[in-house]
């Protein structure tokens, strides 16, 4: 039916299967849109946020998707600037995932503010001292860059490519992609950093406050470094899930292993930096403000020391060592375990830097406050996940995302392709 649109040399599932998958994910999307409209029309009283939790699930989701979306800029940096040419086989997907992550982040922000109609004040009345202003500027700019990086991929669609103008446009854009990759890397450095700065500059909150390195707080660099380190893991994770769902090998092992190895070393160095930061914070910053580590980790049953252990060891050292070690890295089970641990680890870090900051009391007569999100918050957080799955489904179906797909899956083994399960629905829990 839509065979004219499907890239040459690859096989796609039947239309009904595709539409069924789209329908299921679309229902989830609709649920999220409903919740979003509730938040817009009835206001943020639809959430369980409160004056203690001004930042909550959404800000965590924002920070987390941007962290894991860091795979786009870092892969781009590695390919176009450092010259790791093998990565051209995964860069398209990295860009797509990045695009989804960043557009999701912007969408969540548009729901999260109390007066969405005025959110452009952040540009109009910008306060240059605010980390959030920096975030807004860099995020929008980088989103534009990602869009520009995504466009040539769309232009590669068989039918669009037939139009000479689009063909030439796509070709020329490819030529200049290194410039955008460099711009993207530069912007990412700042907005990932300023997202880290969001919590790090809060000198009223000893839990998140990190004294300055030059003019920036430590978290500025930790966030940039961790996004670069963990982002590729997320790209690999989504690639792995896509391979499982499509039951096809899409990217060659050497590409995956290269990215995994780089990621492993990055996570390792990041974790060292994080340990140094934590040590300094626990021994110098916090005691200087009259607080001890125990004050931060023994107030409630939930925010215990386990969280620090999970973040630094399970989500840091363990995946780093697995990915650094060649034999472990080459073993798919170990590798995927490490990748999952890494993605959970960086998400946990962002959780801590948002939610635990809000939970921990500063005034001695204040108390720990726990919070759980309302269904509207959960739905609007799942909304971008559904949207991402849909975008991946459409892009995968109609665009030559994986350059190695045709080579790895010769077209004659038709029966196997026919057997593709209607698995799109499985994507959802895997990503969430």
């Amino acid at each position: 039916m839509d065979s004219a649109l499907i890239p040459k040399g690859v096989k796609r599932c039947p239309m009904w299967q595709f539409l069924l998958g789209l329908g299921i994910v679309g229902a989830v999307l609709a649920w999220g849109v409903y919740a979003m409209l509730l938040c817009w029309f009835k206001g943020l009283n639809q959430t369980n946020m409160n004056d203690y939790y001004g930042f909550a699930l959404w800000i965590w989701a924002d920070l987390a998707v941007i962290a894991v979306g860091g795979g786009a800029f870092f892969s781009g940096l590695l390919k176009y600037i450092i010259g790791k040419d093998e990565l051209k086989n995964i860069i398209n997907y990295a860009v797509l995932i990045g695009f989804i992550c960043y557009s999701s982040a912007l969408l969540i922000l548009a729901i999260d503010v109390g007066q969405p109609l005025r959110s452009w004040f952040i540009f109009w009345h910008a306060n240059v001292h605010s980390m959030l202003t920096e975030v807004a500027f860099c995020l929008s700019c980088y989103f534009s860059v990602l869009t520009i990086e995504y466009i040539p991929l769309i232009l590669e669609n068989r039918q669009i490519d037939k139009v000479p103008f689009f063909h030439n446009l796509g070709h020329n854009m490819h030529e200049t992609m290194a410039v955008f990759a460099a711009t993207g890397a530069f912007l990412s450095f700042f907005h990932q950093g300023s997202l880290g700065g969001v919590a790090g500059v809060l000198f009223g909150r000893p839990f998140s406050f990190r004294e300055g390195l030059l003019i920036w707080p430590w978290t500025f660099f930790l966030f940039t470094w961790s996004a670069a380190a963990y982002g590729p893991c997320f790209t690999l994770l989504i690639t792995w899930i896509t391979e499982k769902v499509t039951r096809k090998k899409l990217v060659k092992d050497n590409v995956v292993e290269l990215l995994a190895k780089i990621s492993g070393w990055m996570i390792f160095t990041y974790t060292i930096a994080k340990i140094c930061d934590t040590t300094r914070w626990a021994n110098i910053t916090a005691p200087g403000l009259g607080q001890t580590l125990a004050d931060f980790y023994t107030g409630t049953a939930f925010y215990g020391y386990w969280i620090l252990f999970a973040e630094v060891v399970l989500g840091g050292l363990v995946p780093a060592i697995i990915l650094i070690s060649a034999p472990l890295r080459k073993n798919p089970v170990w590798r995927v375990t490490a990748i999952i641990l890494a993605v959970l680890g960086v998400s946990l870090n962002r959780w801590v830097m948002v939610l635990q900051v809000m939970a921990a009391p500063v005034m001695t007569f204040d108390q720990w406050i726990l919070y759980y999100p309302s269904w509207q918050e959960v739905a609007t957080t799942i909304l971008p996940v559904a949207y991402g799955i849909i975008l991946i489904m459409i892009s995968y179906r109609y665009l030559p995302i994986f350059p190695q797909e045709a080579e790895l899956n010769p077209i004659d083994d038709e029966p196997e392709v026919e057997a593709v399960a209607d698995a799109p629905a499985d994507l959802e829990p895997a990503k969430a």
Binding site: Q115, L117, R118, W120, F121
Partner: protein, 722 residues
């Protein structure tokens, strides 16, 4: 025209670019910022000329001077009046939120008659003529049957011209049943009468005292004139005046005191007598202020020796002796009683014991001491004209039995009403009129009172607000609220002076309400005959002006009239025998191991006036949370019962049971639990109704054997985890 792909795309892209470059996006952005700050449902308060109007607050007996800021004819803020002798610029939380009562959703906006079942809340608006006609018809018929005594009136106060007009109406009509709601005023009047032999009340020169010994008085919790009391607390801090608070619970007053003496509840009289005994034993008694001391000396020394008192009160011997010595050696010590906000009568024994302490210092009617003050006498109206019906009615005994037989010492015994209505009264009640009172909520065993109202065929409420008692009425004749009317506000509330404030209409009446004074004059004139003769005034304002006579000009000018050179109610305290019995509380300790005490919070209005939305907002989430009310309990006691913070529990007393939540508080004596008064409303509005439990429904009246006054200060209770 053939549209090919190219021209279509050019059109779309060109159109988009054109729109983007046009002023449209900018205009829309600009508009969005304007829309989002000017939603039609967010009010924009109109500006206008600023005027300040002085008046007197009458929401509590405190009598503070207020200044109301107005924008044109809207009152927008109430502030304390600087330089006022009572509050000098300060103002309490209730006074501040008065506008929420003036403009609030809880007002009764017009005269109404009941349509559905009583209490069902179905009303029909009627005209004042129709309303007064209805009432006149009922009253005239009763009077013609010579049953004038079967009409009763409940009033929140008997001070000032408005309650006096109601009392006068009852007298002229021929009913002895003008009943004032119970308060510490009852006990105080009784104690002054008993100890000084003359009618009067006490006043306390707090500002000049140099040692304060408070037996549970909520000096920082709304006792007396609350702003004056809090000011005095600050003054004592500045002058380093020792303040000793005797209290089973770490109330705010106890927290402000220099010393908190936790005591076994109900043994305050023992402690006072114990202190007196030490003073006598150590020869620390002032000269000659107490007569009859000799007669009680031996009893005091033997029965109230510190060791004995220590056993019953739980206060150590050292503490008793130390307090006694410090109290006696201070130049101008002062002892206070009347628990919490002093809204409930207390046992005569306790009050007499505390006043005895004041007597022993020799500071009675002295600077810094306790004053016995003769009643205010500015209301000098001619005798009520009595026709035959009136004389016949007034010959009947009072329905509540006050003033005769075993209740000879009492003037008002509202708590006896339900029993009387349920068949034990001397006669039935045909009409009940209620003014400035909400007994269906504020009386002990309020539920029983409410149930007994079934026996009264016709109930009239003059309330300005949808309170629980108004909800039970058949006819509503709503009064103005204090900001809409003239009224004299005589201030007793422990002031050592005769002070009268003037309430002035700050704004014109907001609804179709009528001044109660006016209503009563109208009513009297409608009833006619000797009743009308007793109300010779054209209207209330004339009545007020004539009554205040020479004070009127001063009041109009200054808003307050103060007489420091007032008449006293005797100067010597006569101590009779120490045989006044103690008041035991209800319930047996076996079934009910705990002791439930109500406590007063200045943030919760607990009398006739309900809490305002602003005030409720300040109430802690350990007092009410959602619909749930809390009991305070010592963690040790809670631990023994397996209860932890916030747990749901069932609170049972001999009078009823209620679901509550538990709040652990170290500042309460183990074995005692406490609940805030003034909550658990069913009427008023959504800002006040259905929050917490009305503790008055869990406590029954307990009569002081010496007077018949309801002197219950708690009840035995048990708590079980729900």
């Amino acid at each position: 025209m053939k549209v090919d792909r190219r021209s279509f795309l050019s059109f779309v892209i060109g159109g988009a670019a054109g729109t983007a470059l046009s002023p449209l996006p900018w205009k829309l952005m600009d508009d969005s910022s304007i829309w989002s700050q000017m939603w039609p449902w967010t009010p924009v308060p109109p500006d206008g000329e600023v005027v300040y109007e002085d008046s007197t607050c009458s929401l509590c007996p405190g009598g503070c001077g207020i200044t109301v800021r107005k924008i044109d004819n809207r009152a927008v803020k109430i502030e304390g009046k600087p330089g006022h002798p009572v509050n000098d610029g300060g103002i309490c939380i209730l006074g501040l939120s008065g506008l929420q009562m003036l403009y609030g959703p809880t007002r009764i906006k017009a005269p109404m008659k009941r349509m559905g079942e009583r209490g069902a809340g179905k009303w029909q608006k009627i005209s004042w003529d129709e309303a007064l006609g209805m009432l006149t018809e009922k009253l005239t018929a009763i009077r013609e049957r010579e049953e004038a005594h079967t009409v009763a009136a409940i009033a929140g106060s008997d001070q000032g011209t408005v309650p006096a007009l109601l009392a006068r109406f009852m007298a002229a009509f021929g009913s002895p049943n003008f009943i004032r709601t119970p308060s510490y005023q009852d006990t105080d009047e009784l104690a002054v009468g008993t100890l000084f032999g003359e009618a009067g009340r006490t006043g306390f020169d707090l500002e000049n005292a140099d040692y304060i010994l408070s037996f549970g008085s909520g000096i920082a919790d709304g006792w007396g004139s609350p702003v004056r009391m809090i000011k005095a607390c600050s003054l004592w801090k500045e002058k380093r005046v020792p303040v000793v608070q005797v209290d089973p619970r770490l109330s705010n007053s106890a927290a402000k005191a220099t010393r908190w003496v936790p005591i076994t509840p109900g043994t305050e009289a023992d402690l006072a007598l114990g202190i007196a005994a030490v003073m006598i034993a150590k020869n620390l008694v002032g000269s000659g202020a107490v007569s009859g001391l000799g007669g009680i000396k031996n009893t005091l020394l033997t029965d109230y020796a510190p060791e004995k008192v220590s056993l019953s009160t739980g206060v150590s011997v050292e503490a008793i002796v130390e307090i006694a010595k410090d109290f006696a050696r201070a130049n101008r010590p002062l002892a206070l009683c009347g628990r919490g906000k002093a809204q409930s009568p207390e046992s005569l024994r306790e009050t007499a014991a505390v006043y005895l302490l004041n007597g022993l210092t020799g500071n009675v009617n002295q600077e810094g001491g306790m004053w016995a003050i003769a009643p205010a006498d500015y209301i000098q109206w001619p005798e009520v004209a009595r026709d035959k019906a009136a004389s016949a009615g007034l010959r009947q005994p009072r329905f509540d039995g006050a003033g005769s037989g075993q209740y000879a010492n009492a003037r008002h015994l509202l708590q006896r009403l339900p029993d009387g209505l349920n068949g034990n009264g001397p006669y039935p009640i045909q009409v009940l009129m209620v003014a400035d009172a909400n007994p269906c909520h504020s009386l002990h065993d309020a539920a029983a009172f409410k149930a007994a109202l079934d026996k009264i065929p016709f109930i009239v409420s003059f309330s300005s607000f949808n309170d629980e008692t108004a909800a039970m009425a058949d006819l509503l004749l709503p009064d103005h609220v204090y900001l809409e009317r003239y009224a004299d506000v005589p201030v007793a509330a422990g002031l050592p002076s005769q002070t009268i404030g003037l309430s002035k209409p700050v704004v014109s009446p907001q609804f179709n309400t009528r001044h109660l004074g006016e209503t009563l004059i109208n009513l009297a004139q409608a009833v006619g005959g000797s009743v009308a003769e007793s109300f010779p005034w054209k209207n209330y304002e004339t009545c007020l002006q004539e009554t205040l006579a020479d004070k009127w000009d001063v009041l109009m000018q200054k808003g307050v009239w103060v007489d420091d050179d007032f008449a006293t109610a005797g100067s010597s305290l006569q101590m009779a025998a120490l045989d006044t019995p103690a008041v035991e509380i209800e319930g047996d300790a076996g079934t009910f191991p705990l002791l439930l005490m109500p406590y007063d919070s200045i943030r919760i209005s607990s009398g006739y006036i309900g809490d305002t939305p602003f005030m409720i907002k300040t109430v802690a989430d350990t007092v009410i949370k959602g619909k749930d009310g809390f009991v305070e309990i010592n963690p040790q006691t809670a631990g023994e019962m397996g209860l932890s913070e916030g747990d749901l529990a069932t609170l049972t007393t001999p009078r009823g049971e209620a679901p509550v939540r538990v709040h652990l508080f170290e500042g309460i004596k183990p074995g005692v639990i406490a609940m805030a008064k003034g909550l658990g409303h069913t009427a008023y509005d959504g800002f006040l109704a259905d929050k917490g439990i009305n503790v008055n429904e869990l406590i029954g009246p307990v009569e002081d054997p010496s007077s018949g006054l309801d002197a219950a200060w708690g009840i035995r209770a048990k708590l079980a985890k729900a």
